[in-house]
Subunit: 415 residues, 2 copies
């Protein structure tokens, strides 16, 4: 029998308590022993909850109870999650967390303490909700050299973009609906500006390279400037816009970025819609594989936490080698990557086609009826070269007193 504590009785924490209770036997069978919930740490009381008798308010009670060897952190944020988790690991307890902010900011140190103390620090639920991507990377693709990870990692923005795609909604209306349904927070910045995706792709990049990744090194662009007009062209082009976290190793350099990308129907992530997440992995032997599921939600996320608890219980005496070391991974500048580019330009094609061809080479041109603009899709270009040409074109138009480029979005036709 092993005793567990949950720190933070919010959505996910209460989901974990619920699963531990409802699936007690099945978990005991998998874990090789029963897992008993002894404490739930929260500032609040929950007199009507099934864990009312186990609520504690003092962290030391958990830290100092040697019987408790499994700790779940579902508080979110860094304070006090970070000092609490660190103290638990230092006290020789296994820690399982769903907190991407914690893992992205302090994962390196916490993994090192876990190694030193021969316990485990697991964080499956921090990326992709219930999708078993972290464990897949260290267990299933253990012999693989991973070259690329591309993910739809944020259910809120994917819900908004799916809504814009399918119903022609504006960004503002789609966001409002996501807020009304509880998918987006009142202050949606962390989601719509891409910060959440950034932390997740940082964690995946660290898993891929085995090195520490500072999420602040990753170029991050959100979806706030994506419009219903962009989706009208996308539909015509057989494409859609998705917020992708992308991390690639090319010639020994690591490129990572978060940005909205137009992707075609052949792209394996095209069909990942609504609040679902999808993660595409390219590795040297297996080739392309994809993992898809609920990226958020109480029970899906809690189920990933419970899978981690089971693995910790199975390996109560051993540190499972996973995660990354203290060496820091350099992230190559985003502008050294390459992509196709979708651009919307005011005016009509006849006048502007020749100059555009000069700037970007052969492009595909798309026109919507009765609009004072058109769109182009370039071939694959180096981002520095593209930006140079785009800026030059934009300032030429402006000098002539015209409107500049209305929109630029990266585009990938295939995975």
């Amino acid at each position: 029998m092993m005793y567990a504590a949950i720190m933070g009785y919010g959505t996910i924490g209460s989901g974990v308590a619920e699963i531990l209770e409802n699936c007690r036997e099945r978990i005991a069978r998998s874990a090789g022993q029963e897992i008993v919930l002894k404490y739930v740490l929260d500032l609040r009381e929950f007199p009507d909850s099934p864990v009312a008798d186990r609520i504690v308010h003092d962290f030391q009670q958990i830290e100092e109870d040697e019987q408790v060897t499994l700790v779940v952190e579902t508080m979110g944020g860094l304070e006090p999650a970070y000092p609490f988790v660190k103290a638990c690991l230092n006290a020789g307890k296994h820690v399982v967390t769903s907190n991407k902010a914690l893992v992205a900011a302090h994962g390196t140190e916490l993994l090192q303490i876990a190694r030193d103390k021969k316990v485990n620090f697991f964080f499956e639920a921090s990326v992709g909700g219930g999708i078993p991507i972290i464990r897949t990377l260290y267990r299933c693709l253990a012999g693989e050299g991973i070259q690329e990870i591309t993910g739809i990692l944020n259910g809120t923005t994917n819900y908004i973009l799916t809504k814009m795609d399918r119903e022609g909604a504006s960004f503002e209306d789609a966001l409002k609906e996501a807020q009304d349904l509880g998918y987006a927070e009142r202050n949606p910045e962390a989601d719509v500006e891409g910060y959440d995706t950034c932390r997740k792709i940082a964690i995946l990049t660290a898993m891929m390279t085995g090195r520490e990744v500072d999420y602040e090194d990753i170029y991050t662009e959100g979806i706030t400037r994506i419009t219903d007009m962009d989706f009208r062209y996308a539909k015509k082009m057989g494409m859609s816009v998705k917020l992708l976290g992308i991390s690639r190793i090319r010639n020994g350099e690591v490129y990572a970025r978060v940005a909205p990308v137009m992707i075609g129907k052949e792209h394996p992530l095209y069909a990942v819609s609504g609040v679902y997440n999808g993660i595409l992995v390219k590795s040297d032997m297996l080739g392309t594989s994809m993992y898809y599921g609920s990226g958020a939600g109480k029970l899906p996320t809690a189920s990933a936490v419970v899978a981690d608890l089971i693995e910790a219980a199975q390996n109560a005496q051993t540190n499972i080698p996973l995660g990354w070391g203290e060496e820091r991974q350099t992230i190559a500048a985003s502008k050294s990557g390459e992509s196709c580019y979708f651009i919307r330009i005011a005016g009509n094609t006849d006048e502007k086609a020749a100059r555009i061809k000069e700037a970007f080479g052969e492009v595909q041109i798309f026109v919507l009826e009765n609009m004072d603009e058109f769109a182009i899709l370039t071939k694959r270009m180096n981002e520095t070269e593209f930006m140079k040409q785009a800026i030059a074109l934009d300032s030429e138009y402006q000098k002539m007193g015209e409107e500049g480029l209305r929109q630029v979005i990266r585009a990938e036709s295939e995975g």
Copy 2:
């Protein structure tokens, strides 16, 4: 350091040897120790291969060498794979196999010997090629109650069906091209009749239920009677035909079958095309998740074998609990399931609509231009009830000297 032997130097076996050689350091890092290939068992000599000096022809050399604790079985078939694997496990060696026929026929016994001998019997590569589905079921979804597994599990048939879908090819032409490209064997029966898919869904059903499953209990229908005409209707209906292995738990009963199914664009398996495999899992907490990748091929499959080798090396002294016990799972009769049904009927709708409505209730009707037939799509019906009506209708037509039903295919609009 651990010593390994490979039995069977065919496509997959040579892939495993190649990966062990080329990724030696990375594997040693993951496994916690070096894995050295000591023997390759094959009837043939391979004088120009990198393993020429390790080829042996006598199984006893492997069985009796106590230094060899890891054995890879990539011979395929049951003889002599079955006695060899059994002897290795009895000799206290870990065995990793890619052989679905072996696992489907003798998995129960081999898993039991592995438990008794405290070694591991792993078979990730036997289902879904390189897709880590077996490990996902026992590692990642360990706390989940799995209710349904639906998979495109055979790359050859999926290639053929994709070709028919995209190019309007006939079954015969698509099969011939698959044979010319080496995707299908000269005798394609095991693939196109669904036998390969049947063994794989039997293994997945045993993983899902924890009980032995006899693949002969699973109703199996192949794709040989699927025609280009069916795909013309499918296109009109926004659907495609896929060969699915399906296993479901409903009210404590397990339903399993292999059959071609029309699925709609919203179905997560719709986009799984060509030689790729995709496996959809529904479980009680996580909900729907999907795993996608190369279902066959030398390196993808070999990479799954190597992941198993690494896990065996990491757990050299422990039997990892996985697989199923000796209790036999009853498979409910296929006809007790339910589905929608696609039917093609000779003649024209005006004359026949009333009688069809009487038989199947409200249906959708589809007509192709200039054809002497039409198609219907029923609502969801119990299979026994559907079959009763379909047989009655068919014999009525025949009594009137008309052609009977031209085609019946199950249909599912969603995953």
